[in-house]
């Protein structure tokens, strides 16, 4: 039972303060709602708490690397690049918050105000109807209940506010948006891009990456200074995060209450009204529980955490949790599979270099299984890549020691270019999360059990993902092209999606076309859990658009007294 009930009622409760939660808080407060924003982790204040943001390399004892102690304490994080000395505080303490892996799943979490908006990759692309049509066209899973046209104005809105730098490329597969000037391609990237224009019937495009690093100032935010230290938190506010962007906007309304260290243990459900009445919160520090009431609840806790919360909610009505009447709650977990591609050497640019450290590279949008192309797998992939000159580290494997060796290592080396593929993973009912009642976290909550694997479609796609990059680079004149496949486990993409999919039918989906839980229309889930398919395109911008759209709808329904 709860220790106390918070008498003050809010108009809305938002669970989670990352990319989606920040947007929900901003939109709802700006529309006049009194909003309680709950965050399970600590507060991180913009600029003040970015403690390593301006440190020089030599100020880290291990120069940013990892120690055996860190590996011991962060065994999941240690599986891939996120474990590092510089922003370790932004990643979850795994000892407090374990989870169970039926199959290996790398869950890289950020439990703090701002969530993973502090560390995200900032790639910001619109999805297209190629994505929203996909399930219906292929006859798998369920159809998306929305199409691009319904989301386009919301993409416009979130792009303008977040600040997306990109070029208008006029590509159907990757719709243009409201862009600031792009981060320019360097000579190496431009060289390959220009060659590619004349190859493959002009169907493969190397474009400027579109990224939430602003190239022109926005209110309260400075333009990108080309520091390339984004994931430490930007003291200029030059990339979109909750702290730099949505939180100040929500605070400015006077309608926001932000509560860190607030773990939502369940959504409270009133079975007579068939509505949620609020949420129960465990204080992460004192363990005291408090019930908070609100007219609407937005779940933006991140894909797996929102699903985990639904699984724990209203179990007296539905043993499988709130939203489980469809039989799809927790199912259809997806990610983007990647970690393979090709790279090689660029010739003819030895008299060229660049200045500054740009925070992004290039992008090659999907060209497989679209516009007449037909492969032996469904869906497709895109590439992220860049060109650069090698630094001192190349010298480790080179022969030599001594003065000449040292001075040569201090000069920029070979121009290289490469791309890594990000592929779409199909929705599959068997890829699921459930509660593991046998294991409890620090606060006594049964942990999440994750059971997810890629299948045959992904395996077939990976052959193209690796070979195509090599083919494109070689055709563009790149020398010594080498392919690689570092292997992939679900979760590594940090693009978890699904588990509470949107759909047209309450019998086969958890959410409707406005991200409302069918069984509790005043509960909106607007993070990645609602995704009906995964696209191959980075998803965060779409979460922003869906959240802004759902917030607008929620307020309109409240006004009509429909909630």
């Amino acid at each position: 039972m709860q220790d106390q009930v918070q008498d003050q009622a809010y108009d809305a409760i938002v669970v989670g303060s990352g990319i989606s939660g920040g947007w929900a808080a901003k939109e709802l407060t700006e529309k006049g709602l009194k909003v309680l924003l709950l965050e399970r982790g600590k507060n991180i204040e913009h600029i003040k708490d970015y403690v390593n943001a301006t440190k020089a390399p030599w100020q880290y004892p291990h120069r940013g690397g990892r120690t055996t102690d860190m590996i011991k304490h962060y065994p999941v994080l240690a599986r891939d690049y996120p474990l590092n000395e510089k922003n370790l505080d932004y990643w979850v303490d795994e000892r407090e918050s374990p989870y169970t892996e039926a199959k290996r799943f790398d869950w890289f979490r950020g439990y703090q105000v701002g969530g993973r908006s502090l560390m995200w990759g900032r790639q910001s692309y619109r999805w297209s109807n190629i994505d929203f049509d996909a399930n219906a066209k292929d006859g798998i899973a369920v159809d998306w209940p929305i199409r691009y046209e319904e989301l386009a104005p919301w993409y416009d809105k979130v792009e303008k506010f977040a600040g997306i730098a990109g070029n208008r490329d006029g590509l159907e597969v990757l719709p243009d948006g409201q862009f600031m000037p792009p981060h320019k391609l360097n000579c190496g990237e431009e060289l390959v891009g220009n060659k590619l224009k004349k190859l493959f019937d002009g169907k493969r495009h190397l474009i400027h990456a579109r990224t939430a690093n602003i190239t022109q100032p926005l209110p309260g935010r400075g333009a990108c200074q080309s520091r390339d230290a984004c994931w430490l938190g930007c003291p200029y506010g030059a990339y979109f995060s909750t702290q730099s962007s949505t939180l100040p906007a929500a605070v400015a309304t006077g309608n926001l209450t932000l509560k860190p260290f607030a773990i939502v243990s369940e959504v409270l459900y009133d079975k007579d009204k068939k509505r949620a009445s609020g949420v129960r919160v465990i204080d992460a520090v004192t363990n005291a529980t408090t019930d908070y009431k609100a007219k609407v609840v937005f779940l933006c806790a991140s894909t797996l955490n929102s699903a985990w919360l639904l699984l724990r909610s209203a179990t007296d009505i539905w043993p499988g949790g709130l939203g489980s009447s469809s039989g799809e709650l927790g199912n259809n977990l997806m990610d983007h599979h990647f970690r393979l591609g090709a790279a090689g050497d660029l010739e003819g640019l030895d008299d060229k270099y660049y200045y500054g450290r740009k925070p992004t590279g290039f992008y090659i949008p999907r060209y497989r299984n679209v516009f007449g192309d037909k492969r032996e797998y469904l869906r497709g992939f895109g590439y992220q890549g860049s060109a650069s000159r090698e630094g001192w580290s190349r010298a480790i494997a080179e022969a030599g020691i001594g003065g000449a060796f040292k001075d040569a290592a201090a000069e920029p080396g070979q121009w290289t270019v490469g791309g890594m593929a990000f592929g779409e993973m199909l929705p599959n009912h068997a890829n699921k999360v459930t509660l593991d009642e046998t294991t409890k976290d620090k606060w006594g909550l049964p942990v999440l059990k994750i059971d997810c694997a890629t299948g045959e479609n992904e395996a077939k796609m990976r052959k193209d993902m690796m070979a195509d990059m090599a083919e494109m680079l070689a055709a563009a004149g790149v020398k010594d092209v080498k392919t690689y496949d570092l292997g992939y486990f679900p979760g590594q993409g940090i693009h978890e999606m699904g588990t509470a999919r949107m759909g047209k039918d309450p019998k086969t989906s958890v959410l409707n076309s406005h991200n409302q839980v069918w069984d509790a229309p005043n509960v909106f889930v607007t993070d990645g859990s609602g995704m009906t398919s995964a696209s191959c395109v980075n998803p965060s911008l779409t979460y922003m658009a869906l959240t802004a759209r759902a917030a607008d709808f929620a307020v309109s329904e409240l006004t009509k007294r429909n909630l």
Binding site: A56, R66, P82, R357, G403, A410
Partner: protein, 213 residues
């Protein structure tokens, strides 16, 4: 997973979580495996580290004399030229920290044994320790050792241990080029460049721009 060729690491610097991946890439140097590679790649070795009977780790911290020895090794690899060398950048102390904190026990042992092997080679060649050898003698010893490690590392199987001199060379390069001297004197470092110029003329001899961190 294993990261055992340079191209994958290079390409890893290309994806959207670029800072992170570049960090891994820079530390690994896009190079073939180094002693501490398991800790960089996150794949802890399957065999557990040896632990003393009382539960404490077996590693004994480096002494001041050993750090001075490491300084001389690093400074022979990266000596004073037009810019200060590795000893001026306190690279020996950095190497000691990394071996103590970041190397797995089996790699710590390889590294330590390597220090003894090198001194034994100095005794044989010069009738004295490495530190007490002349700069020319040190250079000759390490040039031989560098050829040995290169030949070994280029042909070894992925699961074979790294050569101790590759470890020393990697830590020297990493320690030096991420030090204040290495960033601001050997290379050019600007914390906040303020803009990105995508294509500028470059003349051979101009040094690199150092990374942020």
């Amino acid at each position: 997973m294993s990261l055992d060729t340079d191209k994958p690491l290079l390409a890893q610097s290309l994806i959207d979580r670029r800072e992170a991946i570049k960090r891994v890439s820079a530390l690994l140097g896009g190079a073939a495996l180094i002693g501490g590679s398991a800790l960089w790649t996150g794949c802890a070795p399957k065999d557990s580290p040896p632990v003393a009977a009382d539960g404490t780790a077996a590693f004994v911290p480096f002494t001041a004399a050993e750090i001075a020895y490491l300084d001389e090794i690093a400074d022979t690899i990266l000596p004073d030229t037009k810019t200060p060398g590795a000893k001026a950048a306190k690279t020996g102390a950095f190497m000691a920290v990394m071996v103590a904190d970041s190397y797995q026990p089996k790699d710590q042992a390889i590294f330590r044994d390597g220090m003894k092997t090198l001194d034994a080679a100095a005794e044989t060649a010069n009738k004295t320790t490495f530190v007490a050898s002349t700069p020319a003698h040190r250079l000759a010893l390490l040039e031989t050792l560098d050829k040995e490690q290169k030949a070994y590392m280029d042909t070894k199987k992925p699961d074979d241990p790294a050569h101790y001199f590759r470890m020393m060379k990697e830590l020297s390069l990493l320690g030096y080029f991420t030090s204040e001297i290495g960033c601001t004197q050997a290379q050019r470092y600007i914390e906040s460049p303020g803009r990105y110029d995508p294509c500028l003329p470059y003349t051979k001899g101009e040094v690199s721009w150092a990374s942020h961190a």
